[in-house]
Amino acid sequence: MNENLFTSFITPTMMGLPVVVLIIMFPSILFPSPSQLINNRLISLQQWLVQLTSKQMLAIHNHKGQTWALMLMSLILFIGSTNLLGLLPHSFTPTTQLSMNLGMAIPLWAGTVVTGFRHKTKASLAHFLPQGTPIPLIPMLVIIETISLFIQPVALAVRLTANITAGHLLMHLIGGATLALTNINASVALITFIILILLTVLEFAVALIQAYVFTLLVSLYLHDNT
């Protein structure tokens, strides 16, 4: 069972071909681009959702921060759709791979930091020292703030990976337990099944929330630095 539990997380290759590339590109098919003023239902629904999300997310930024609108919107769409597609049976979720999440987190975080250093150097460096600290504590606090700055991309990536992986693992385990319990004790199996249903609802929420949190934090780091 141990080997079976983790086989759904290995990078999919079919006869040596990296199918993972196709799987990562698959969500883009589900978002057609609008071609007319009044589009079909799918595109209109997606347009409405994107406008709702973008207005809420970009309200806190100034003009310079709002140039990142495209990046943040495509980020939340990609992570949300990839996580939701991972809830289908037997599917592979690319966001369970730490490599991919690091690849998303580090460039975005580095972009915000470099933007801050280039345009508002003094203010960016001033972030390292909170206001009103007693003078003897300053060296230690600068060190702590530096560490907390450099841990931001790692935290972004690991948060997303751990949440999605843990959710999938829990569903596998509880689903296996439900199947095994149906022959031993039907009522306990029913309780386990209800737990599984609740967990699935949670996973839907987590899929969307994680996308939101990732994007929100990137936008927060951006806000600090523009």
Partner: protein
């Protein structure tokens, strides 16, 4: 066997069974041709099921069902050993 219209330009439904191997060999297998085939297939599905006035959930759910089937075929090798009981 010689037909008035050249075999290459006929649509698949008009090609006679004997001419089928020749028709397949004359298809465009360059990367550009294959990309064109994917594009034509995509737009054919899209215009039939999604880009309509009253599109329903069937349009995307067929795509998702095909995705599930594709992933099942991908993992079949590990899945075929799973059994609910040791002895049936």
């Amino acid at each position: 066997m010689a037909s008035p219209v050249p075999v290459k330009e006929k649509k698949l439904m008009d090609v006679k069974l004997g001419e089928l191997p020749g028709w397949i060999l004359m298809r465009d297998f360059t990367p550009r041709g294959i990309a064109g085939a994917f594009q034509r297939g995509y737009y054919r599905y899209y215009n039939k099921y999604v880009n309509v006035k009253k599109g329903s959930v069937a349009g995307i759910s067929m795509v998702l069902a095909a995705y599930v089937l594709f992933n099942y075929c991908r993992c079949y090798k590990e899945l075929k050993h799973e059994r609910l009981r040791k002895y049936h």
